[in-house]
Structures are given as structure tokens and as C-alpha cells.
């Protein structure tokens, strides 16, 4: 499924680069950034990672053995896995190198682990044949042993080469002795004319032609014997090549016979490679297997949004892992500026995308279900489209996700750039739509009008989970929706602190006093404003802050 917007919003790309399979097929898979919505595929991926973790833990002491497994995986070349009448020598080299490293991989893995991934011996007959050509296991040439005529042909060629060399050396020696022309391995010479007062005297051995006004170009002329040797050599080379082509065709037949087994081997290697890379990733970042058995709520315990955690580490700030449960189809998250509500959205998408990409997730526990779609509605950094404002973008994106069913959809501050009354109305309608249609609640001070039946018919009455962050506290309060808020600033502690004048220090101060926890939200309005307190902590003029506070408290 396509998850481009959600992927970008969840800042998955940097982390994805840490997922490092070693084979070309594993790297292809990572490059596709595949996210699955098929529970069986995802579970198989997780099972494979579990098996790879088990193997890595059992083999932890065998550093050399683990290193050799990586070595062989890295050296597996791509294969031309389509039948051909005649493979090129280069392609046979690829098959040989694959089989050598595949064999090496199997030797290094415990039999049970190898069998679990479908890594079974393949292409034995082909390997035996290819091993006949090459000075080591990973090189290939068309050796004499492949054909009874090759050895004789090549012996003749070697003899001819020796004769040709002797003839050339004889001629260059003669020209050097008699005419002082030292070729020294060069195929021609540029000689000053004054050094060759009688160029015709060279005619029996060399061709001489003008180079410029001051020099001749001199080239050795092959004598009749050498020409005959060269002609004979060409003929032998042609015979050798024809014989080699025969060998290539025979070896190609063996390749075609082995192709089904080789295809299976490539699939098994890819599966093992991805599992190994996933297991390494799980070990490096303390990831856990997601639990897809949870039928209703999405729950996360001590989930770590790694991009934020690493950024906090870099800035020397504390990071608060996320623990929460989303048991309703529509969840509205309130929170102050810099309070972490967008990070909650990103975190959940991050975990869900990783889980459905077949990887483990950075949490103590993550219970979820498989969504058919994972979407984000909002503006992405740096994004612009001709004629559309930020609001236009949101509506355009929403129209795309509106028909989707069984989706996880994150709405980050929907309609934040439009007027607050219109935004609250629009947001209320969308939250209501995802929360399922229910009769108007008598508990509400202003009962909303009944939903038209044609809209009811379009509602995603399925397992879609929609998450909304917003500042608009006037959004409709619906019984079927869940309303949470970031706990926000500890005003009392913040008042007592003095975090200095530098931005870094002020940010650290906010981080220290901000409680990045989700708590149930009550519709009643608070007397204190996190936004104004944060403005004060960022150094806004105190008189302005006090005046703003007065306005805030005087509002109905």
C-alpha cells in the first residue's frame, strides 16, 4: 500500500537507513519501503525476525562465524534468473560466485536455522561444473577441462605466442643493432630526420613516413614468417572461441536445469537477509515484536519515537516515552504549543508503519491491528502546490482518504489556518463521521442537528481509527469519541525556574517543566494558559504576557 505522506510525517526515512540487509535483493526490498496490509505476511516477517534473534543470541559468542555469515551475504551477486540458450561468461561467473557464497552461508548456519528459512542446498551439479573453471571459488574462466580440444588448441596457441615473440625480438634486435632504432616495447617511433639520413635503407624491416618537417614515423614491418604465424594464430583463436561457445552452451543447459532451485535459493536468502537485518535493528534499538492479537484498542507502553528521542539526546533534553490506549474510533488530542501532541501522532504512525513493514517497534509493548491504509492529513514540511493554501492542501488530502476503510488516519491540526469557528465546525463534522453516527446527545448544551441519511451512508462504519490533534477546544464532544490532552506545563514549577536568556536554555526549561503525558480531557476550560506561559518562558515581554493573561481570563 502507498504510505508516502504518513511515511514523511512520521520521519521514518532516517531510521529506515539503519535497516541494512546485505544482499542485493534485501536492499531492493528496503528500497521499495514496502508496508503490508496482509496479516499473514506481516506475521511471517515477525516470525522470521524472532527466529533470527534466536540465532543471533545463540551464536553471540561465535564472532567469527557471525562475521562469515555477513561476508557471504555481502558477496552474493545478482543472478540472471531467466532461462537462456546461452549464458554469457560473465553470467556464469555470477552463478558460480552465488553458489560458492550460498554454500558458505549454509555451512555457517545451524541446520535448523537454515531449514527454517528454506535455505537448502541448490544447484549441486551446476556448482560442480562451474568449480572446474577458475583459480579460486569466486573466479571463472573456460578451463581446458571443459572440453577435450581446448587443451590442445591452447597449447598450440602458447607455442605460437612464443614463436611470435621470438620473431619480434629478433627483428627489434636486428633493427637496433644495424640502425640504432630502439623500440623498447613501443609499437612505433618518431625519429629526427637527421638520425635517418637514408630512410630507404630501412625498407626491408620498417615502414618510414613523414611525421612532420623534422621527423619520420617509423614502424616495424612484420616479415613473412611473422605474418604466417599471426594468420595461424587468428585461425587457432577462432577455433578456440568456437569450442568455448560449445562449452558455454553446455554449461547454460546446466544453469537452466538448476534455475528453479536457484530461484528458491534467492527467495530463501532474501528472507533470511531481511530477518537478520530486522533482528540486528531490534537489538540495536531495543525493539519489540508488535502484538496484532489485540482486536479492539491500540495500546502502546513506553513507546519511543526514535527521531525525537535521538534529537532530545543530542540537545541534552529528557525524552518521555509514550504510553496510551486508543479504544475509540475517533480520538481528539488537545495540548499546548510544544506540548507534544504532534509527536504523539508521529509516534503512533512510526510504530504502526514499522509494524506493518514487518519490523519490530521501539516500545515496551505495542498492541495494534492491521490497517488497510495508513494516512496523514495535513501539511508536510516544505510542501507547496500551485493555487493551494495550507487549508486547501488539507481538504485536498482529506478527500483522498475519505473513501478509505479500515484505515489509520492522522489529522494534525486540521483547519488550523482558517477561522476558529469554521474550523471547529468542520473538525466536529469529521470527528463525528469517524466516531460513527449516534443520536444527538441530550448532555450537550447545544445539541447538534441530526446527520443527514445520505452522509450516514458514506460513513466509514468499519475499523478505521482517526486521530486528531487540535487547539480548538470548541470541537463537538461526542460520546463515541475519545478526548485526551497532553498534560502540559507544570505552571508552578515553571514559575519558580529561571532558565536564562539563551534559546537552548529556555528550550531546556520548557522541556523540564512540560509533562508529555496523555491524560483524559475535560471540556471545562482551564484558568491558566500553557501557550502564554510558554511565551513567557521564551522571553516575551512580561507586560505583554500579563495583559494577554487578563484577556484570556476575561473571555466567557
Amino acid at each position: 500500500m502507498t504510505v508516502h505522506d504518513a511515511w514523511s510525517f512520521a520521519q521514518l526515512e532516517d531510521f529506515w537507513r539503519c535497516y541494512e540487509p546485505l544482499t542485493p535483493w534485501g536492499r531492493d526490498e528496503v528500497g521499495r519501503r514496502a508496508v503490508f496490509n496482509d496479516a499473514a505476511t506481516i506475521n511471517h516477517r515477525h516470525d522470521d525476525i524472532a527466529a533470527a534473534i534466536g540465532w543471533l543470541e545463540a551464536a553471540a559468542q561465535d564472532v567469527v562465524g557471525l562475521d562469515r555469515v555477513s561476508y557471504h551475504l555481502k558477496r552474493l551477486p545478482r543472478l540472471p534468473l531467466v532461462p537462456k540458450d546461452e549464458y554469457e561468461q560473465l553470467e556464469l561467473f555470477q552463478f558460480k560466485k552465488f553458489l560458492a557464497n550460498y554454500r558458505g552461508l549454509l555451512q555457517r548456519l545451524p541446520a535448523a536455522v537454515a531449514a527454517g528459512f528454506g535455505l537448502v542446498p541448490a544447484g549441486r551439479e551446476l556448482a560442480t561444473a562451474l568449480d572446474m573453471g577458475g583459480s579460486d571459488a569466486e573466479t571463472f574462466f573456460l578451463a581446458d577441462a571443459y572440453h577435450p580440444d581446448l587443451a590442445a588448441l591452447r597449447s598450440d596457441l602458447r607455442g605460437l605466442d612464443d614463436e611470435l615473440l621470438a620473431s619480434l625480438e629478433h627483428q627489434t634486435g636486428l633493427v637496433e643493432r644495424e640502425f640504432g632504432l630502439v623500440f623498447a616495447g613501443r609499437e612505433f617511433l618518431v625519429a629526427d630526420r637527421q638520425l635517418l639520413p637514408d630512410p630507404l635503407s630501412l625498407a626491408a624491416h620498417c615502414s618510414v613516413e613523414p611525421y612532420d618537417d623534422a621527423a619520420y614515423l617509423v614502424r616495424l614491418l612484420p616479415n613473412a614468417a611473422r605474418l604466417a604465424l599471426a594468420t595461424r594464430r587468428e585461425s587457432l583463436l577462432a577455433a578456440e572461441q568456437a569450442t568455448e561457445n560449445e562449452v558455454l552452451r553446455r554449461l547454460s543447459g546446466l544453469v537452466v536445469d538448476a534455475l528453479p532451485a536457484l530461484c528458491s535459493a534467492v527467495q530463501a536468502v532474501t528472507r533470511f537477509d531481511l530477518a537478520r537485518a530486522g533482528a540486528v535493528l531490534a537489538g540495536r534499538f531495543a525493539l519489540v515484536r508488535p502484538d496484532f492479537d489485540a482486536a479492539t484498542a491500540v495500546r502502546v507502553r513506553d513507546g519511543r519515537f526514535l527521531p525525537c528521542q535521538l534529537e532530545c539526546q543530542r540537545l541534552g533534553l529528557a525524552y518521555q516515552p509514550l504510553s496510551t490506549e486508543f479504544g475509540a474510533p475517533a480520538v481528539v488530542l488537545f495540548g499546548s504549543n510544544m506540548g507534544g501532541k504532534t509527536v504523539v501522532l508521529k509516534s503512533l504512525l512510526f510504530f504502526q508503519l514499522l509494524a506493518q513493514a514487518g519490523l519490530y517497534v521501539p516500545a515496551a509493548a505495542f498492541q495494534t491491528r492491521v490497517f488497510d491504509h495508513i494516512e496523514y492529513v495535513g501539511e508536510l514540511a516544505g510542501e507547496r502546490l500551485a493555487g493551494l493554501s495550507g487549508f486547501g492542501f488539507e481538504i485536498w488530502r482529506f478527500q483522498r482518504v475519505w473513501p478509505l476503510r479500515n484505515a489509520l488516519i492522522a489529522f494534525d491540526e486540521l483547519a488550523r489556518t482558517t477561522g476558529s469557528h469554521e474550523a471547529e465546525a468542520l473538525l466536529s463534522a469529521i470527528v463525528e463521521a469517524y466516531a460513527r453516527p449516534l443520536p444527538a446527545s441530550p448532555r450537550l448544551a447545544n445539541p447538534r442537528p441530526a446527520m443527514p441519511t445520505d452522509l450516514v451512508a458514506k460513513l466509514p462504519a468499519d475499523r478505521t481509527l482517526a486521530l486528531f490533534t487540535t487547539h480548538f477546544r470548541g470541537v463537538a464532544r461526542l460520546p463515541a469519541a475519545l478526548y485526551l490532552r497532553m498534560e502540559g506545563l507544570d505552571h508552578q514549577a515553571a514559575c519558580l525556574s529561571d532558565d536564562g536568556g539563551r534559546l537552548e536554555e529556555r528550550l531546556a526549561g520548557i522541556n523540564r517543566h512540560m509533562r508529555y503525558r496523555l491524560v483524559a480531557d475535560q471540556p471545562e476550560r482551564s484558568d491558566s494558559s500553557d501557550a502564554l506561559a510558554i511565551a513567557a518562558m521564551l522571553g516575551l515581554d512580561c507586560a505583554l504576557v500579563e495583559r494577554a493573561q487578563a484577556y484570556f481570563q476575561s473571555q466567557p
Partner: protein
């Protein structure tokens, strides 16, 4: 002054033979240097490994110097070379494939092969820097002390900068009609090859700042020196004009990133000092003269840097690969 090319300068090194145009004598120099190096290796009684590489495929049929069909590279048993499948067996050296080179060009995938008997190689290399870099990295990793000669692409020396510790042999032809232009080319190259190393410490700051603002500015000022700027990308006539007036000292990555004529360099850099972060060693400046007296060329290139590296026609009879003047 008499100066001969020392083939030992090639041993265990990566040397790119390049030049400014087609048929300037690159391959001829490479083959002559190869013959001299082999002779030195034989005299030393050693078996140093050798690899012949190229960039792309030289489709030229005739050699400018000799007027003959361009020869294949002569291979001896154990030599490594780069080529594609269609030319792999054509030279009769009974090749053993030892490695694949990443990527694929118009002629197919490249591989590194080892000659198991004497023959000729039609060299075909990857078009991109990455493939060539991978081939050289493989040779360096697998064959300790390998001497690598690269028949470089014309007028493209950026590949050289992509390979750590690679050296340069620059070949150009000088005939009567193009003498002034060739002399200017050599002077410009010598000027760039002699750029002083970037000031330590300050440079790193400046380059880092420039990289952070890719596309936002052509140059960034280093924090400590208000006149010191660095340039992450190429120095062209356009970027030269956009340099701030306050810039008195400019750091470039290496000389291959400078795309200015000698005149532009002189005019644009008046009063400014240019620095190079990475130095590239030049082992030879090879002048293939035709209809021009070598003495005249030497007189017009008095820069000691040039004089120390200047060689003339590698096929001249007097002495193989000599700078005899």
C-alpha cells in the same frame, strides 16, 4: 636539462592518464609508459600486479600520432583489465573473470578480468565515478601494491578527484596551429595544481557551513576570518561573479572543481587567494609535439613546476619517455 620519465612513479599507484581532447595521445603515452614500467619490473625481477582501466569506451578508430588503428592494450599473463562481455574474449588472452563492476553502460556490464595468456584488451570501463571508484577499490583491496593505470576520459578529470590518492599524467598535443592554446592550457593546469592547501581548522568550518546551506548561497564565510570563504560546488565564471566583495581568500574542494579559463582565473582572482582542500599529485605533463620545436615549447613554459614534469613525445627515438631538452 635532461629529464626522463621514471616508471617507478607508477608502481603501486593509481595513475589517471588524461588530456583535454580526443586524440591528444593519452593512450599512446599510456602504452609507452606501460612498456617502460614492465621493463623496469622485469629488471627488478618482481611480479608486481598490474591493472589497466578506462573510463567509458574510446570509440575513436585512428590514433592521431601514428595514423594507425588504435591498438588494444597489450596484456601479459596475470595482468588485470576492465572490459565488457562482448570484448572479453576478443583479445585472445583467455580471461578469467574475477569481479563484477557495479552498474551497467551502453555496452553492458563491466567486469575485471585476469589474462591467463598474452593478448590484447579492448578496455571498456564504467561511465560514472562510482563504478570506476568501486573497481579501483576492489583492486586495491584484493591486490596489495597493484599498479593501476587508467586511460582517462577526455577533459574530465573529476574522476580523478573521486579516487583517493590518485595521480595525474596530463597529455596534450602541440602543433603549430594550436600552440598558443596548448601553452595556455598547460599554464592554467599548472596554476591549479599548485594551489596552496586550505588553511587548517578554518577550512573545515567554512565547508561545513556551505554544505548546510546547499543552494542557498554559493559561498559561506568562515567564522574566524571575514575574508575567508569556501565553496562546496564548482567554481565557474558565474559563481565567480557572485563571490562577495569581502572574499579575499577562497577555498575549493580540489582543482577539478574549477571550471575557469586561464584568463578568467587571472581576472577573477585578482587580489584573491585560492586554496584547495585536497591536493592531487601530477606525475607528468606530456607534450606530444608535431611541427613544433620542443625547445620553443620549453621556452614558453618556464614555470619550474612545469619544467620538472614536462615530457615530450613518448615515441621520440632519442630515449624512451624522455624530457631531453
Amino acid at each position: 636539462m635532461k629529464r626522463a620519465f621514471d616508471p617507478a612513479a607508477l608502481t603501486g599507484q593509481v595513475t589517471f592518464v588524461t588530456g583535454p581532447e580526443k586524440n591528444c595521445g593519452k593512450t599512446s603515452f599510456l602504452l609507452a609508459a606501460l612498456a617502460a614500467w614492465r621493463q623496469a619490473r622485469a629488471e627488478a625481477g618482481r611480479s608486481w600486479p598490474l591493472a589497466l582501466l578506462t573510463v567509458g569506451y574510446d570509440g575513436e578508430v585512428r590514433d592521431w600520432l601514428s595514423g594507425q588503428r588504435k591498438p588494444g592494450a597489450p596484456l601479459q599473463v596475470g595482468d588485470y583489465y576492465i572490459t565488457v562481455e562482448r570484448f572479453l574474449r576478443a583479445g585472445g588472452c583467455c580471461p578469467e573473470i574475477v569481479a563484477l563492476v557495479p552498474g551497467s553502460g551502453a555496452l553492458g556490464r563491466c567486469c575485471i578480468a585476469r589474462a591467463t595468456r598474452p593478448g590484447l584488451a579492448a578496455l571498456v570501463g564504467p561511465e560514472g565515478n562510482a563504478g570506476l571508484g568501486a573497481a579501483i577499490a576492489w583492486l586495491r583491496a584484493e591486490l596489495a601494491g597493484c599498479t593501476i593505470l587508467v586511460d582517462g576520459a577526455i577533459n574530465r578529470i573529476t574522476q580523478l578527484a573521486a579516487v583517493p590518492d590518485a595521480r595525474l599524467a596530463y597529455v596534450l598535443r602541440l602543433d603549430r596551429a594550436g600552440l598558443n592554446r596548448a601553452v595556455e592550457r598547460l599554464q592554467r593546469l599548472a596554476l591549479l595544481l599548485q594551489l596552496p592547501a586550505a588553511p587548517a581548522g578554518e577550512t573545515a568550518l567554512a565547508l561545513e557551513a556551505a554544505a548546510d546551506q546547499a543552494g542557498a548561497a554559493i559561498a559561506d564565510q568562515a567564522s574566524a576570518d571575514p575574508a575567508l570563504y569556501s565553496l562546496a560546488d564548482a567554481l565557474t565564471s558565474e559563481s565567480l561573479q557572485r563571490l562577495p566583495a569581502a572574499c579575499r581568500r577562497l577555498v575549493v574542494e580540489d582543482f577539478t572543481k574549477i571550471f575557469l579559463t586561464a584568463a578568467e582565473l587571472r581576472a577573477g582572482l585578482a587580489g584573491r587567494q585560492l586554496y584547495s582542500r585536497a591536493a592531487i599529485e601530477c606525475v607528468a605533463l606530456v607534450a606530444v609535439t608535431r611541427g613544433v620545436d620542443d625547445d620553443e615549447v620549453a621556452r614558453r613554459l618556464p614555470d619550474p613546476f612545469i619544467q620538472q614534469r614536462l615530457l615530450f613525445n613518448p615515441y621520440r627515438l632519442a630515449e624512451p619517455l624522455t624530457g631531453d631538452r
